[in-house]
Symmetry: D3
Subunit: 142 residues, 6 copies
């Protein structure tokens, strides 16, 4: 959708990696669902990495930069990613952002608030995804 | 999508109205786009109100309660609404949440961070909506 | 998404045209919004017709057959088309099915019931489309 | 998407529960797919119920009220929910509304008519969901 | 969305079946994922066929005609189907078009190019589907 | 949706700019709709450029690279962008890709083939967008 003719790359401004309270490994030990999701993602990503597709790597890099600490703190960005994922009804994406939010110290009440916004914006079609998200929440915050 | 047989209504827990820095009127005076949106919405809502449809009123009430200050502050909830609206590509909804965020003191940099998340989650299909949102941002934050 | 190798065409089973209470012309005289929609559609369809695209004609024919009186009466089929259109947030499609329903004698209360289902299934993102649909309802049922 | 400042709750107008021909238990005995869906939904809903989230309960209540007998009979409302679910491509929602329609005495031909509308409105992307819905129909109407 | 009153059927213009390099059977022997998909589709389609629904047969026929060799060669049409399927996030549809493209001699690099377009248009929400598509690509092009 | 911890940027592999047969200016002189679209886009993009948002520039750059000549020729990539845009029902995106395709020498018959795929994948909800696309086609290919 763009017609930018300049192939030069804008220089990367310093952005701050957020401080995670928990590693992915710790999350996987706490929750069966998270464990299954993280394992499966790692296996599939390994295969994608092998393809070494330039544009996918660029997209992953852009995606990574989008969620760094900025004007909006990383934890709220992850919750925004959760809202978008639930609205667009992508279970894998919901799992990912619930886990990322948890790793950044987001409380269960905050996760529920975010899911409520997805529910009211996206409607009852979000309910099956909400139900599965709540199963993950129950495992993480037990 | 539910089969809840109990017609009884859960009691409303106290939720806090957020403190707006600007009224809708002040926003309309600042931005031509906001003015047009707010006027049009008021006119159309008046017509909806006349119909006095029970379920629409319930939905509006639920929607209103969802964005009140809670575990997540109202300003981040409005930004979450903005992300969802941009992802689902609804210009009216984008305008609404940009205005609400502005009224709650959200900075332009925070609005841009939220739109970036919508862009990366939703893809280039979000670009035309982002362009229109940036026009509104330019008017509000001038 | 199919791999049907037989180019033979299934014979058309007799399906019944529904009985319209009002012509498109009568609807256009009653409502300014309907008038604008019907005129615009006629003008654009004339241009599509000139292209004489085989697959578009087939799609139009299939679409036409789908809404004929069958196990489900045509009036409920139009309301189902309205629900789908509102959920998928297509203003032109909403206008079309509101008008078709009206032409088949659907009451305003029935139209509101259908829109309520779209609202609860599709969420607040449906609200702007609902507002515009209610403007058309007000003109048609005055 | 609303800015309704009144926290007062509209009083619930009497709406009629529809008369079900079959209980969920009877449906589960008839169909393996329905059994699996209903069991899974019950298990996940139990977990959601434990969270006792005010807004989810409100949404469930609103959702329940939307499908009650009204200007449009409950059976057509369930078929409208089916059309919306198939268009928005939510397998769980499709299963739910197929089952609800069956419980209300909807015939197989009526269910097929509704699915046809979803297919023509939503396109070939609906086909995989239609295929799975037909598997459920075959079990229910055998 | 159409109001075509003529039930007559446009005559089918000759369209050319594309020349497949591989049969579905050969693809199923090469890839476990393709095998699973093709088996499942065949089983479910058999059940749909039994219903002998006129409009579904018409839709399948239209769908089949759409992908025949025409102004755009069949191989690019299948890749277009792949882009649409990935954007609309339908795993079954993605599998189908990856397999069809492979059967028509599309290279892996061409498939990756198509998926990149889906990724940039559809955003990070496409990533989980892309990951699964890459698993199928790895099996087919090994 | 990714957790790539390396901030380093993959080096840009040489990709070839496609050879345009027509400039945007020439297209704008030929078609009133294209003129309006291109003018509006230029005006809105100027405003986005002023914001100098790092991630938007990165996204635009990625988007630009995606449509360059590669394993799939640029003209088919633009048609793939058209299919995705029509399926996701974004008029601005449809206009953009119809224009880009035209500038690369795509014939009207090829554009129609691409739109047919969008129509059959996306369903009747695509029709209003198809109608508007055909108006642009009529102006460009007159």
């Amino acid at each position: 959708m763009t017609d930018d003719n300049t192939p030069t790359q804008p220089t990367i401004k310093p952005r701050k990696e957020p401080a995670y309270l928990f590693s992915e490994k710790q999350v996987a030990e706490k929750s069966r669902i998270a464990h299954h999701f993280l394992d499966n993602r790692a296996r599939l990503n390994e295969n994608v990495d092998k393809a070494d597709n330039f544009l996918i790597k660029r997209f992953y890099n852009l995606d990574h930069n989008t969620y760094l600490d900025g004007a909006v703190p990383a934890k709220y960005k992850e919750l925004m990613g959760l809202v978008a994922s639930a609205c667009l009804r992508c279970d894998d994406c919901v799992d990912y952002h619930v886990i990322q939010s948890y790793r950044l110290g987001v409380t269960r009440a905050e996760q529920e608030d975010a899911i409520n916004i997805a529910l009211v914006v996206g409607g009852s079609i979000v309910i099956p995804h909400m139900r599965r998200a709540y199963e993950l929440l129950a495992e993480l915050y037990s």
